[in-house]
């Protein structure tokens, strides 16, 4: 519920974009100034104060429980509001407009607000919980809102007073607010004028960030209110609105806060959504405040909105905000400087608040304190907290930036919020269309009929009923499927179901597999397919009676009837050539050319294999792995080895006929490790010796794959090739490549050729490999260009993985390589896999992204599919969906297990359908969306100029947001940037995608790197893309040495780094440890074992093992991170002001990048401009 609400709230966010020129909400200048806003504000002010102090506090307090959530929410909301909504919302006018409604609504919203806040926070995390509640309100508010609106309107003013209104009312009110007088007024508040928003946003952002953290704590304590306050403050700056908001929150949280109303005003729009169930509860006590509070928070999230308040504030209360701003601004100000210029006066003020927020944020802890002061705190807090400096700073800062980075939506905040809200309880999959917690949240899943989000995540859990809606929204409908995902030990693996000789029970027409959604009829004698509605006879052996509810009596005994994920044992009909498959084989193919030998790689691999072979994947409880192994070495020619157990010595067989590759032996090539142990050991001992003196520098490549393929063909099994390769294959052989690296092509129409394979030879080879179930994993050790784009073709199309270790050096890269190799060899993998995604009538899987091959339009074929590989599937409408029946997905994966068992893994997922766009926006998952967009864009570069791809991305996102703004957000001035709560991070993430090396290469990035990354991303899951595009930045020096937890992440911006601290940044591929120049010597000594900053070697690939708590803590953090990722990350020590820092800065994705990538703030402005263009 909260979610929905929040989502709504989000829209309002339109932040006053004072700072943004483009964004500038003319409104700000104008609006705020205009009497209206002011008046509104005034009104608000009036009410707010009143509210704040009187109502909020008390009422709110009661709701504490909620408030607590609310408060955090509120914080979030603020932030979020700022962020989400945007910039644009700043508009005072709207706010102004809003304010009143807000006020009016605020009360109602108050409840809502709470809920929203809660939702907001929760929402991100927990859409499901209140869902029903929320939705209604949401929907109501906006659309139907009209009805409520009136109420709200009427109430608005009164609201403050009447806060107690029922939740629904509240919601309605909220809606009303937004819609009605609202419309304009309400939304704005949510959005906050851009100007304000900006200013606000930062605040909000800061808040959110801090808030999240804070909130949680607050929640416990009343603290939240303060947060709210703090938010309020930011908002407040927007003078009144802010205050009101804060008040609202405050109220919720802090009884004392009158402001809540204001918040309501702000939040209203946002709040409404929030109104979800939760609110009601909260509401009751402090309904008004709650609502109000909720409102703000909600607004914040979406809106980033802090703007709303600002908007409101900005408009009417410019001055006050300013003051308020001043207090908090300081920190923020600096960044804002530029904005300031842009910002209107009001903005400036707004910023002020933001800075304040910033201050507040830092103060997060402050929040705790803040809570106390809540009502006044808003303003006071800022002052009190950051005030001194902040106040001073703000003015200065203003000139620099228009927008306070802290005021714009913060990924960190969102993640933290979700984590705290949704991480504690298991995610139960029983309900249709629930949005799961974020990928960054640790949560348990209880399968009650839908596949775990670990297996499937969707961009939206609420699908538009019609294609028109879908087109209008431009929100891609996609599912990111990881069929063999690894589950945490607490969760059970899919059960294996055996339906006997006739195989799994399936629908006669569409061949869908038996699943929980199948409807049994006629006493259980038949079942109706949930996908195609065809009625199929239940096979006699499968018959079971139905109980009075129409459920089969054996419902709980059969995984395929009660669970979302399960496996079927496949019958021989599902096997190639109608023969059960043999156990798969692993073939290790080692480059033994000069480079590989000289670098020690060959010896390393051989040494490692000796022990690694004992850890081949095993099925279940089997004593030993069924997988057979084989060995090949190669340079210009290939060497096969006969390691038959009966031999005293291995035998080497050289195949020099690389033009026409074949396998020289069958018996003795693929062997059982245990049986041939001594021979294999002897071989691995001898390989490095044999080639120790090699002078061969040329290598072949395609024949190596062909050899593996032929070997598997001959052995009639599927399997995996592990190829360790060092150089561009220039030796005379099929698949020979030439060096075509040309950086001059970048930014030209020919740039795409850099991503395309040189020759179609490898595509054909890949096809053959897939047909045989020959998966190719590639380990590359290049010292120069080796054309990853071409070499990777087979790997990519067979579902394999590429690992690249440029300039491989034994000392530094050994650990990384060995860890990758170990994991790669040991990880669970299905062979010879075919995946098909079935959907209920109305939508259809139309496009697929990932590492696989498709010979037709429906079947995704993968020679190998491991537990880390993800397939993204896009759906399109081909008919109407109905809200009643929702939409169903069934992903069926047919594969051969590592023991050679043929199985079908089935994942089912049910989604809701909606006729209201708002529902769609409320149930989105930005991370998944980004995953899809990145993959879409990365595929696009193969065929279009990069610029086209970038523009298309921006355009699509602008359309998504514009559609929201137009159809879901409460009316507000055009200048307000209003983001949906669920998508408030879309701009920041999108910017990260646009700045990624593939789409905007830095100077240091090689063509191979780009191709490599392009392929990597294509099969990443949501968690991986999340951290890849927005790296995790952890202040190590802030880590609590005594606890297991990670320090709170901070945003990826240089200005967040302190010279006195050490930070860790990880993106899934690399870990950077950044050391500030002013770091205490003691820390350096503890961590690096050297006495001074200058003595730190940046050649370290691991941290020294030192016996002190800090070192242990840091190493344990790194180990923890390494475990989370599917690849072992390269550790790079970066000293501030060192050369390497350039590289590091590349990953500070919120900043302007050297290669021309926009900073977050700039990009947000740009997006806003785009959206406005679309709207106008």
């Amino acid at each position: 519920m909260s979610v929905n609400q929040q989502a709504h709230a989000g829209p309002p966010y339109g932040q006053p974009q004072p700072g943004y020129q483009g964004y500038q909400q003319p409104a700000y200048g104008g609006q705020p100034l205009p009497g209206v806003p002011q008046s509104q504000y005034g009104a608000y002010n009036g009410p707010m104060p009143g509210y704040q102090q009187p109502v909020p506090p008390q009422g709110y307090f009661p709701s504490l429980g909620f408030p607590s959530k609310g408060s955090p929410v509120s914080l979030n909301s603020d932030t979020s509001s700022l962020a989400p909504n945007f910039i644009g919302s700043l508009r005072a006018p709207p706010t102004s407009g809003a304010p009143p409604p807000a006020s009016g609504a605020s009360l109602p919203s108050g409840h809502l607000a709470y809920s929203q806040f809660g939702h907001g926070d929760v929402q991100n995390g927990i859409p499901a919980s209140a869902a029903p509640m929320q939705r209604p309100p949401a929907s109501q508010p906006f659309l139907p809102g009209s009805a409520p609106t009136p109420v709200s309107q009427t109430s608005t003013f009164q609201q403050y007073g009447p806060p107690p209104a029922g939740v629904q009312q509240l919601s309605n009110h909220m809606a009303g607010m937004t819609l009605g007088s609202a419309t304009a007024a309400a939304p704005p508040p949510a959005g906050l004028g851009y100007g304000p928003p900006t200013s606000v946003p930062p605040v909000s952002g800061s808040f959110s960030a801090t808030a999240s953290g804070l909130y949680t704590p607050y929640t416990a304590s009343q603290g939240p209110p303060p947060t709210s306050v703090s938010q309020g403050l930011p908002l407040a700056q927007p003078p009144f609105p802010g205050q009101p908001v804060s008040t609202q929150r405050l109220p919720a949280q802090v009884p004392g806060f009158a402001p809540p109303p204001s918040s309501t005003g702000i939040g209203p729009s946002s709040y409404p959504p929030a109104t979800g169930a939760p609110r009601p509860p909260t509401m009751p006590g402090p309904p008004l405040p709650g609502q109000t509070v909720a409102g703000p928070p909600a607004s914040q999230p979406n809106h980033v909105s802090s703007p709303p308040p600002p908007s409101a504030m900005s408009g009417p209360h410019p001055a006050p905000p300013v003051s308020g701003l001043h207090g908090p601004p300081p920190p923020t100000h600096p960044p804002q400087p530029g904005y300031q210029m842009q910002q209107n006066g009001s903005f400036g003020q707004v910023r002020g608040p933001q800075p304040n927020y910033g201050g507040a944020y830092p103060g997060t802890p402050n929040y705790g304190s803040q809570p106390g002061p809540p009502p006044p705190p808003k303003r006071l807090d800022p002052d009190s907290i950051p005030s001194p400096q902040l106040n001073e700073l703000p003015p200065q800062q203003k000139p620099r930036h228009r927008i306070d980075p802290d005021a714009i939506p913060s990924p960190i905040q969102v993640i933290e919020d979700d984590r705290s809200n949704r991480g504690s309880e298991p995610f139960v999959t029983g309900v249709r269309g629930q949005v799961p917690p974020l990928v960054t949240t640790n949560f348990l899943v209880r399968d009650q009929g839908n596949a775990s989000p670990r297996y499937i995540r969707c961009t939206s859990y609420n699908i538009p009923c019609t294609s028109d809606m879908a087109k209008q929204s431009q929100v891609p409908l996609a599912a990111v499927i990881k069929p063999l995902a690894t589950l945490p030990p607490e969760e059970t693996l899919p059960y294996l179901v055996d339906h006997g000789e006739s195989g799994p029970v399936r629908c006669n027409r569409c061949k869908a597999y038996m699943c929980p959604f199948m409807q049994f009829i006629e006493g259980g004698r038949r079942f109706q397919c949930c996908f195609c509605s065809c009625v199929t006879e239940v096979p006699p052996h499968y018959f079971q009676h139905l109980d009075h509810t129409g459920k089969r009596v054996d419902f709980y005994d059969r995984p395929e009837l009660s669970l979302g994920s399960y496996e079927f044992l496949a019958t021989v009909d599902y096997c190639k050539n109608n023969k059960f498959p043999s156990p798969p084989a692993f073939i290790f193919m080692i480059d033994v050319s000069y480079n590989a030998v000289k670098s020690g790689l060959v010896r390393l691999i051989c040494e490692e294999l000796k022990s690694l072979l004992d850890y081949l994947p095993r099925e279940g409880n089997m004593e030993e792995s069924a997988i057979r192994v084989g060995f090949v070495t190669y340079n210009k020619v290939l060497h096969f080895y006969n390691v038959k157990s009966s031999l005293a010595q291995p035998q080497m067989m050289v195949v020099s006929d690389v033009a026409d590759m074949f396998v020289p032996l069958l018996d003795g090539f693929l062997v059982n490790v245990n049986e041939s142990r001594t021979v294999i050991a002897s071989l691995l001992d001898q390989i490095p010796e044999m080639f120790a003196d090699t002078r061969e520098t040329e290598t072949v490549f395609a024949p190596v794959i062909q050899a593996g393929l032929e070997a598997l063909k001959a052995a009639e099994c599927a399997g995996k090739l592990f190829i360790f390769h060092t150089s561009l294959p220039i030796a005379e052989a099929p698949g020979k490549l030439k060096n075509r690296d040309d950086k001059k092509l970048i930014n030209t129409d020919k740039e795409k050729t850099l991503f395309q394979p040189q020759t179609s030879f490898y595509n054909n080879l890949a096809k053959d490999c897939v047909a045989q179930g020959c998966c190719v994993d590639l380990f590359l050790f290049p010292n120069q260009y080796l054309d990853v784009a071409t070499l990777g073709v087979v790997t990519h199309q067979t579902g394999g993985s590429i690992y690249k270790y440029a300039y491989f050096q034994l000392e530094t890269d050994q650990d990384r390589f060995l860890n990758d190799l170990r994991r790669d060899v040991q990880k669970e993998v299905g062979f010879d896999a075919v995946m098909r995604v079935r959907t209920s009538t109305g939508i259809r899987a139309t496009d697929f992204f990932g590492a696989f091959y498709m010979s037709n339009t429906t079947d995704v074929e993968m020679a190998g599919l491991d537990c880390d590989k993800t397939i993204t599937v896009e759906f399109k409408h081909d008919d109407k969906l109905s809200e009643d029946s929702g939409a169903l997905l069934q992903c069926a994966l047919l594969y051969t297990s590592c023991a050679g068992q043929r199985r079908l893994r089935i994942h089912n997922l049910s989604l809701n359908c909606c006729t209201q766009l708002a529902d769609l926006y409320r149930n989105c998952e930005t991370d998944t969306l980004i995953n899809y967009l990145a993959k879409y864009a990365y595929r696009g570069v193969l065929s279009s100029p990069v610029k086209t791809v970038r523009d298309a991305l921006i355009n699509q996102c602008a359309q998504i947001l514009a559609c929201y703004r137009k159809n879901c957000a409460s009316p507000s001035s055009a200048g307000q940037l209003i983001l949906p709560e669920c998508m408030k991070l879309l701009p920041v993430y999108l910017n990260c995608v646009l700045k990624s090396d593939v789409l905007q290469p830095g100077l240091e990035v090689t063509t191979d790197d780009r191709a490599y990354i392009r392929q990597l991303v294509t099969s990443m899951d949501v968690a991986e893309t999340n951290v890849f595009f927005y790296p995790r930045l952890l202040p190590l020096t802030k880590a609590d040495v005594d606890s297991d937890s990670l320090p709170a992440a901070i945003r990826n911006s240089e200005e967040r780094l302190s010279k006195g601290d050490i930070y860790l940044l990880e993106n899934g591929l690399n870990i950077f440890v950044w050391v500030g120049v002013n770091v205490q010597q003691g820390l350096i000594q503890n961590l690096f074992g050297v006495s001074s900053f200058s003595q730190i070697s940046n050649a370290l690939s691991t941290l020294p093992v030192l016996e002190n708590p800090f070192s242990k803590k840091v190493r344990s953090i790194i180990d923890m991170l390494q475990v989370q990722r599917s690849r072992y990350m390269k550790l790079i020590i970066v000293k501030q002001e060192d050369k390497l820092e350039m590289l590091f800065k590349h990953f500070l994705v919120e900043d302007k990048s050297l290669s021309g990538g926009a900073s977050y703030v700039d990009f947000l402005c740009h997006m806003h401009k785009e959206i406005r263009q679309l709207l106008s």
């Binding site: 020619v637 060497h639 035998q651 026409d660 002897s682």
Partner: protein, 767 residues
């Protein structure tokens, strides 16, 4: 005629030469009327105990087109230190080393008894002999084991410094690298793909590395031996290694499904062997020894598909043009054989299988390079084991009975031209004034290459008399022929053996009786047989038979004494008396009759027929039959069914088979166990006598004959029954059969019938 017989024998012993005519008709016209061409059987390396080689270079005629070697027939002017070439009449100065020459101080080559002389010359680097084993691994376990043992044993028989190499094949072809320690290494080739020599060398890493990189010090010289030595190593250094490697040889590991033949890449294996040697040791004595246990079933040179339901081609298929792979395969092997010959290497084929192994297609490999061809039922038989062992037999002087890379250069005096040669050789395409336009056998050249030969290797060389009838040779004139054989001795020395012979010319009209008397009917039979067999390779069997018949009839017409149209008056002189009989048996021989023989067997028989010396050839044409009985000492008896008597033990030697046949009574006696009773010890001796004689033959013959011990009514008796002249058959048993004997169930004509017809035709005025 005793004189001529002695003369012929003497000549054969001294020079290894037997001419069909020992007095030559002096004009082309007369010569053609002689029917049997002027030709000789030459055994270039005939073992001569009394011929110590001389250690200097031969003196050559200075005329570039002649280059004949100084010989006893040359006129020498001792004072002027000049000698006149007896072929081109060029006057040559003796080289300075001959300054001391005088009538009493003659060099050996001028002495009449040295009409054959052998020089040892120092030319080029001496490279050790090379033995490259090419082993089929698609064998039954038992066979493979036996083969492995034979091969391991053979290592001890090789010269210590010989280089050995190992290639194994089945579905794939593996070239084993013998130099490495520890891990055994081999290069593998796919069995279905034909590769050029260049590709093979590239793939084996034999192509010379791009040396220019290292300027200054030419490392090439030391490198080259290193490279080749990876695959070819001196026996003494890798003896142990190779023994182990052979011991570890596995059967071809690729599964053979029911109803299929194993995939055998003989064609590619040979091709790689050839390519390997071609790249590393061209023009050095080398033996590629192919051991195969079945037909090639894939790749170039495949002879039959791998479906067992399709049998390997038979003569019937070939006649019906139904042998799908034959032509292509033959072409493949011919190409290989020619390349091998060009490199001076030879290919031996040891094929042991119950079914055919594709010898028909592969025969040229052995035929053109002088390699051995051995056919057996299994590697696990003494036939193979002993034959293989005998390859490495040593001669009386402790030297291997093998020589390599020989080139035979024939020079003739002007009245003669060279029409061709038939034997294990290839043409070197040396055109010259003494080369005839009419080809008999491999013609159009005066030089042939014999890549491998042993002391019994015999070539048939055909000449044409070109002297015109109107330009008679002066009375007492002699024609001369010089055979110059340069070869690599098994000791790796280069040697040149020069044989110069001369025969009298005679005017056929006035001196026919001389010519007639000097007819060597044995040599003539063999020479004609070689021609016939040679033709049979390319012509239809019946055509060859007709041709032979016609030749025989014409000969009889020419030299017989008869009244026209009166068969009964027909007589042949003693020097021709056996000739028709030889022809009779030749017609029935497996060389010309394919009935009851598989194409492989025919190829096998013909292979040996084309290289054995006169004696052995005659045995092949007309097997020898000895009878052992209580009636007297062992005696040769007619190869006739009438010789098969109950109280006789017969010993038949067909060259390929030794058959001991116990007559009905003897067999009964033996069954009764008389030989074990002391009082019948003579019976025991009687039984033992043929065994001993057979043993003697078995000891010396190469390849070892199939040894058959049978008795009256035994199934193996067919070997005897199919050979003897069917004078008594079920048709004429009562007409002829007053005397006892064994009737043969055949419709073949008997010698008597044959002779009757011959007489009738010879005297007929119609033809």
């Amino acid at each position: 005629m005793a004189t001529y017989l002695e003369f012929i024998q003497q000549n054969e012993e001294r020079d290894g030469v037997r001419f069909s005519w020992n007095v030559w008709p002096s004009s082309r016209l007369e010569a053609t009327r002689m029917v049997v061409p002027l030709a000789c059987l030459l055994t270039p390396l005939k073992e001569r105990l009394d011929l110590p080689p001389v250690q200097y270079e031969p003196v050559l005629c200075s005329r570039p087109t002649c280059k004949a070697v100084l010989n006893p027939l040359c006129q020498v002017d001792y004072r002027a230190k000049l000698w006149a070439c007896n072929f081109c009449f060029q006057r040559n100065q003796f080289p300075p080393a001959y300054a001391g020459i005088s009538e009493v101080n003659q060099p050996a080559e001028l002495m009449p008894q040295f009409s054959t002389i052998e020089y040892i010359v120092q030319r080029g680097p001496q490279t050790p002999l090379i033995f490259l084993y090419v082993i089929d691994t698609c064998l039954e376990e038992e066979d493979l084991q036996a083969l492995k043992e034979s091969l391991q044993m053979s290592l001890s028989l090789l010269p210590a410094d010989a280089l050995v190499g190992l290639i194994t094949f089945g579905r794939m072809v593996q070239v084993h690298e013998l130099s490495c320690e520890g891990i055994s290494k081999s290069y593998v080739f796919r069995g279905t793909k034909d590769l050029t020599a260049k590709q093979i060398q590239d793939m084996l890493g034999l192509s010379k590395p791009a040396a220019p990189i290292q300027q200054g010090r030419p490392l090439q010289a030391p490198e080259q031996p290193v490279i080749s030595s990876r695959f070819l190593q001196p026996v003494h250094t890798i003896d142990m290694n190779l023994t182990d490697l052979l011991g570890e040889l596995q059967r071809d590991p690729w599964p053979v499904t029911q109803g299929k033949r194993p995939l055998r890449s003989t064609g590619v294996a040979l091709s790689i062997a050839v390519g390997l040697l071609e790249g590393t040791f061209p023009n050095t004595g080398a033996r590629i020894m192919l051991f195969t246990g079945g037909p090639p079933t894939q790749g170039p040179g495949m002879v039959v598909g791998d479906e067992l339901k399709t049998p390997i081609r038979s003569w019937h298929d070939i006649e019906k043009d139904n042998a799908r792979f034959m032509k292509k395969a033959t072409k493949h092997y011919e190409t290989l054989a020619n390349r091998t010959a060009a490199n001076g290497h030879c290919i031996d084929i040891y094929a042991c299988a119950l079914d055919q192994t594709g010898l028909l297609e592969m025969k040229c490999c052995a035929n053109l390079t002088g390699g051995h061809m051995v056919m057996g039922d299994s590697f696990n038989t003494s036939l193979f084991k002993q034959t293989f062992q005998r390859v490495f037999n040593k001669g009386f002087n402790g030297e291997f009975r093998m020589a390599f890379g020989a080139s035979l250069d024939v020079k003739t005096s002007r009245e003669l031209k060279i029409a061709g040669a038939i034997g294990p050789c290839v043409s070197l395409n040396a055109k010259g004034p003494c080369v005839s336009e009419n080809e008999l056998g491999i013609g159009g050249t005066s030089q042939w290459k014999i890549c491998s030969l042993d002391p019994s290797t015999t070539l048939a060389i055909y000449f044409e008399v070109v002297n015109q009838h109107n330009a008679p040779v002066p009375q007492g004139g002699r024609g001369a022929v010089q055979f110059v054989t340069q070869y690599q001795h098994s000791s790796t020395q280069k040697r040149i053996r020069v044989t110069t012979i001369a025969r009298n010319w005679a005017d056929a009209q006035s001196q026919l009786q001389h010519i007639e008397a000097a007819f060597d009917q044995e040599a003539a039979a063999v020479l004609m047989a070689r021609l016939g067999v040679y033709r049979a390779e390319s012509e239809e069997g019946p055509d060859v038979l007709r041709w032979l018949d016609r030749q025989l009839i014409r000969l009889c017409q020419k030299f017989g004494q008869y009244n026209k149209d009166d068969p009964n008056s027909f007589r042949l002189s003693e020097s021709f008396s056996l000739y028709p009989q030889f022809m009779f048996h030749l017609r029935r021989s497996p060389f010309l009759q394919v009935f009851n023989n598989s194409p492989d067997e025919s190829s096998y028989y013909r292979h040996h027929f084309a290289r054995q010396d006169l004696t052995q050839s005659l045995i092949m044409i007309q097997p020898i039959l000895y009878a052992y009985s209580f009636h007297g000492p062992p005696e040769p008896v007619l190869l006739d069914s009438s010789s098969i008597l109950p109280d006789r033990i017969l010993l038949m030697d067909t060259f390929f088979q030794i058959v001991i046949y116990l007559g009905e009574t003897i067999a009964q006696w033996q069954k009764a166990g008389y030989q074990d009773m002391p009082e019948y010890e003579n019976f025991k001796h009687l039984l033992q006598a043929p065994l001993d004689d057979a043993q003697e033959i078995l000891q010396t013959r190469f390849p070892m004959p199939r040894y058959i011990h049978t008795e009256h009514g035994g199934s193996q008796a067919r070997f005897l029954l199919s050979k003897v002249n069917p004078s008594q058959t079920h048709n004429n048993l009562y007409a002829w059969g007053q005397e006892s004997g064994a009737p043969i169930l055949t419709d073949d004509v008997s010698l008597q019938v044959f002779m009757d017809h011959l007489k009738k035709l010879a005297v007929s005025s119609a033809s």
